[in-house]
């Protein structure tokens, strides 16, 4: 069994609401929580600014990133990875997503809003080099 990543429904709703509010642009943020073997449990989601302000690209603001990391440390959480939205494309890493994925230990969550009333969230690990490959994690959204 591969990595399982658990997320509370309230946190899913939080990133979904933010991603919709950022349309037509991509939205992004960080996730943090706990790790127990192959099970990662998200305890906090962070909504950050997409400094690219683009509907087809995102970059996290490093200052906001640091603020979020400090909050994670203060709460005893570990950084688990990031999330971003794809306003018009499926929930899978694009070539650009893979090219810019530099942390093989991170979970990369992608929220597709391609069908506005049917959002799709998936989580991936992106590893290797030339080519980088992505592997889907088992995402469990809990009440």
């Amino acid at each position: 069994m591969g990595t399982v990543i658990k997320m509370k429904k309230a946190d899913f709703e939080k990133i979904l609401g933010h991603a919709k509010s950022c349309l037509p642009n991509e939205a992004c943020g960080l996730i943090a929580g706990t790790v127990n073997g192959d099970v990662r449990e998200i305890q906090a989601v962070y909504l950050l600014t997409n400094t690219d302000a683009s509907n087809e690209h995102f970059s996290l603001d490093p200052k906001e990133q640091l603020t979020a990391i400090k909050d994670m440390r203060a709460r005893g959480l570990v950084p688990l990875g990031n999330w971003h939205s794809h306003p018009e494309s499926p929930s899978r890493p694009s070539e650009e997503d893979k090219r810019l994925a530099f942390d093989s230990k991170a979970s990369y969550m992608i929220l597709s809003l391609m069908e506005r009333d049917k959002p799709v969230l998936n989580s991936f690990r992106i590893t290797g080099n030339d080519p980088k490959t992505s592997e889907k994690e088992q995402l469990v959204i809990e009440e």
Binding site: H57, P62, H84, D97, L100, A101
Partner: protein, 70 residues
């Protein structure tokens, strides 16, 4: 001396530079990592000349970005 790296306290030798710490910590793709020391962003041209002090707090921030078009 003792510093905190990514939230973990570590013993390192005196006069260690940030560039040396990046190597000893096996930081992946360091060219895409921003380093902060005590919340101050260290520019890449200062990594080899910045010597860490006892009690410093270091964070490695991976560039995080992507795109949905391709």
């Amino acid at each position: 001396m003792q510093i905190t790296v990514s939230g973990v306290k570590k013993e390192i030798k005196d006069n260690t530079t940030i560039a040396e710490l990046i190597v000893s910590e096996n930081v992946e793709t360091p060219e895409y990592v921003t380093v902060t020391v005590n919340d101050e962003f260290i520019t890449s041209d200062k990594l080899s000349s910045t010597v860490l002090k006892n009690g410093d707090t270091v964070e490695f921030l991976y560039f995080m970005g992507g795109g949905s078009v391709r």
